[in-house]
């Protein structure tokens, strides 16, 4: 059995374990143990991968294996990872541990909650380790039920509406993706394997519609304009852990798909048509930033800022230069950790103050200094302060985007850069209202600061932010050869 299967088996077995756990405590411990084991395993896997690469392993994917699944349709269960998928796996493992820790005090239907969280994680891991497009699609879709139920049952506000909207829009995205990959199968020599599809020369006429379908389909998952409307409602209604997952992991599934399937497998069409998505990404970046400014609810604020930040991912991928794509991958990891921290901090505040309105809060730093600090750190990462992960990744995207010689591309780059200013405005304003200042509400004087589980979660996520911020070469080295491979495909 391929060692990568362990990545799916750990969360799956812990999910089953959760079902058989006797009481709530056992449920939480099982889930946490699974998540921590998974994080450790992901760390070991990175080490093993790096060692193989150092020793001179050259294949595009390592740890490959190939199991027949549905033979008449040439569907295989193919596994393999490269640096890009590995960084996504590390991101997922980190966010899952933090998400489970943050949800420690959940009381309603505990067993079901953790079961669904683990199922959601299983889908994400599966998506990142398979190299068969059909199997990828299977894992992509696997997350639909958990997302819907997590928001609909444990959410707040107009949760049923949000859950339904999210499920339907993501289903629409999946349908587009499915049409696209069916096209890959029929026009790419009847195979679903990414490795084999790379070698196929699909004619440009065919590539064009497929590229648009697949990119737009995955774009829905990344909350690309105009398919972003599920994100604000979904994120704000979801329970904290689910928001962390949605923004931290689920939106990255889309970015990964845009890069790995749409851009990598259909390079000629990408050259011709990526301008469509650059325009959409630019709109998302600017619209998202301005929409964030208008929000009072902290969760809506972070949701719209996620739309803006994921716009950077799309922009980086669509610019088709090496630096931009590297930046896009870094931005995916960086935004994943940062937004998870943001949602965790907002969730902690909401649990205590029972409001998320920025203007009703105030003086959080005095009352709950730990949570306040976490909030500020995530805010500063979001606006791109040097030293944190946001700066390096966005910077790399800008540099890469500027390399593109086209005039329109330069304009898009400048617009994207300018949005940073707007980001600074809304972040500083939110921090000013909610965190600084004097305590406005007497009831807040009784608030207790973060408990152990919340502290752990925060430390893990801050650790991720700082490591990427101070040592970005860790990621760039991990993904360098893979981005080079994608570039080689783009320049063929």
């Amino acid at each position: 059995m391929n060692i990568l299967n362990v990545l799916i088996l750990i969360p799956l077995l812990s999910a089953v374990g959760v079902l058989f756990a006797r009481n709530d405590k056992a449920v939480k411990l099982t889930a946490l143990t699974g998540a921590v084991l998974e994080l450790l395993f992901a760390g070991w896997l990175t080490y093993a991968y790096a060692k193989l690469r150092m020793a001179g392993a050259t294949g595009a994917m390592l740890f490959q294996s190939n199991t027949t699944w549905f033979e008449p349709l040439n569907i295989y269960y193919r596994l393999g990872i490269d640096g890009i998928s590995l960084s996504m796996i590390l991101l997922t493992a980190t966010v899952v541990v933090a998400g489970i820790l943050v949800s420690w005090r959940i009381e309603k239907q505990v067993k079901e909650f953790f079961f669904l969280i683990l199922l959601l994680a299983t889908g994400a891991y599966g998506f990142f380790i398979t190299t068969d497009v059909f199997a990828m699609f299977f894992f992509l879709e696997l997350a639909v039920i958990p997302k819907y139920l997590l928001i609909g049952i444990w959410g707040s506000g107009k949760k049923e509406y949000s859950a339904m909207k999210l499920a339907l829009m993501l289903m629409f995205g999946s349908a587009l993706v499915f049409l696209g990959i069916s096209g890959l199968y029929y026009f790419g020599g009847h195979t679903w394997s990414i490795q084999e599809l790379v070698a196929q020369h699909i004619s440009v006429e065919v590539q064009r519609p497929l590229y648009v379908l697949i990119f737009a389909g995955f774009g829905v998952f990344t909350a690309m304009f105009p398919f972003h409307t599920w994100a604000p409602d979904g994120h704000s209604s979801a329970p904290t852990a689910a928001s962390m997952f949605l923004a931290g992991i689920s939106m990255k599934l889309g970015g990964y798909g845009c890069l790995r399937v749409a851009t990598f497998l259909l390079p000629e069409a990408a050259h011709e048509l990526s301008w469509i998505f650059i325009i959409l990404a630019s709109i998302a970046i600017i619209y998202g930033a301005f929409a964030t400014m208008m929000q009072k609810d902290l969760k809506y604020m972070n949701a719209y800022s996620s739309v803006s930040h994921c716009g950077f991912v799309i922009l980086g991928i669509a610019m088709l230069t090496k630096a931009a794509i590297t930046g896009a991958v870094m931005q995916m990891v960086s935004h994943g950790v940062m937004t998870a921290l943001f949602f965790a901090a907002i969730g902690m505040i909401y649990d205590r103050a029972h409001t998320r309105q920025a203007n009703e809060l105030g003086g959080m730093l005095k009352q709950v200094p730990f949570i306040g600090t976490a909030f500020i750190i995530s805010g500063l990462t979001s606006l791109g302060l040097p030293g944190f992960s946001g700066f390096v990744s966005e910077m790399t995207i800008f540099v890469g985007a500027w390399e593109h010689p086209g005039m329109g591309y330069k304009v898009a780059t400048i617009l994207a850069c300018a949005s940073i200013v707007v980001t600074a405005v809304y972040i500083l304003r939110a921090v000013g209202f909610a965190i600084w200042g004097s305590v406005t509400n007497k009831e807040y004087l009784q608030l207790k600061d973060a408990a152990w589980n919340e502290r752990f979660a925060t430390f893990i996520l801050i650790g991720g932010i700082v490591i990427i911020g101070l040592a970005p070469f860790l990621i760039t080295r991990l993904i360098e050869s893979d981005v080079t491979g994608i570039m080689a495909m783009l320049l063929r």
Binding site: F70, M164, L176, L179
Partner: protein, 487 residues
Amino acid sequence: MYKIAIRSSGSLLNKISMNLETISLLRFEWILIAIIFILLVMKLTDADKNTKSMLTVVNGLLLVNFLAGLLPMAEGSAFSNFFHTSQLIVLEKNILNLGLLLISFSGARYLYSIKNQLEFYILMLSSVVGMFFMISSGHVLMLYLGLEMSSIPVAALANYNRTLRNSSEAGLKMIFSSAFSSGILLFGISLLYGATGSLSFDAISMSIQPSALSLLAFAFILGGFAFKMSVVPFHLWTADVYEGAPVQVTNFLSVISKGSVIFVIITVLYKLFGNMHMEWQLGVSVLSILTMTIGNLFTMRQTNIKRLLAFSSVTQVGFVLVGIAGATKVANASVVYFVLIYMLSNIAAFGVIGAISESTGKETLSAFKGLYKSNPMLALTMALSFFSLAGIPPTAGFFGKLFLLAAGFGQGLYVVLAVASINLVISLYNYLRVVKTMFMDDAEVALPSIKSNAPLTIALVICVAGLLLVGFYSPIFNYISSFSYGM
């Protein structure tokens, strides 16, 4: 004298062995007929006084019937090609047998409560015998006879709650619509005879050419079958009949009746009208678009769960038609595979609906509010079957539906696929609406914890296990695909 005796005994032996061969080809049919006879004898001897043990015996017989179907069987034809059987046909009959068994199990509670259970079974089994002949037919006459034999008993079944007004309405609508569709079908058949001069499948498939007459014949024949499959615009009877008939009869209608017609229409289109591939592909595509879309739109507004499933079954047939239009070996396999999955999903859903309606007397969607809190296992079963119908992993419906669509893509049916993808979204809404009712709404009246009886539990467990296994466990699809055929 001596010689003659030898010769005649030789020919007798010959005859006997030929008859044995025929009998073995007809194994599925005569086992069912034998069961019907046993039931008749039981009825005559008043063996149905002890309802419980009688039902156990019947269920046992059906189990034997199903298991006997799994025994290996030769391919071949009998009665000068009126009847033929192949591995695919055996598989299709096995699927129907499984459905029959599961419906009988899941309907146990309803059957306890009614009188004349034996007649219920006799009618149901006669209908299935008709389906088997229909599926095996190699001649249009046999096809028509089988179809009639399969649909008339169902009308009586739909009317089984004789004291209820809408049950009678269901029976009447059923008999009218099936008579009407048979008329259309017969008219098509007579035109077909005019066009080709023959009624045997082999002769027709050889000589048929796209001409005005044969196109007209095709249109009428397709229309006749469309009625039975409740394809839009021939679906109008579906909702009323489904709503009025007893739950288990609705189950039978939506799964077994529909499944058998889907099986047979593959034969009709691929073999009989094989030369008119382009023409029928267009027709089926148009019907598919209409069926999915209208079925879906009507599902959205239903408040009665049986009506909801009626329109949902219309939608599902729309997806099946995409696969049928796919017309390749894989497409054919996907259709059979999908029917199996659809059957498991619907039987699970109707099993739960039956349990709820018998304990609360309600069949509205609002009766399912808060079901997860009072009866978690029933709610989970129902949710799983609905996820399967919506085509969401990890259920088998995901694979079934995607294979159908992929088959359509292979034939370049891009418009159909574009419509189908939008319909995937709408149908997800329809199914999630029920899931939401069960998991997120609070019950208006607190539901009692429903005690599930053993047969129902067995049926539901088999369905749920099937819904998970049939998908992941790829050998099932590969097996079906190994003897399916394309154009």
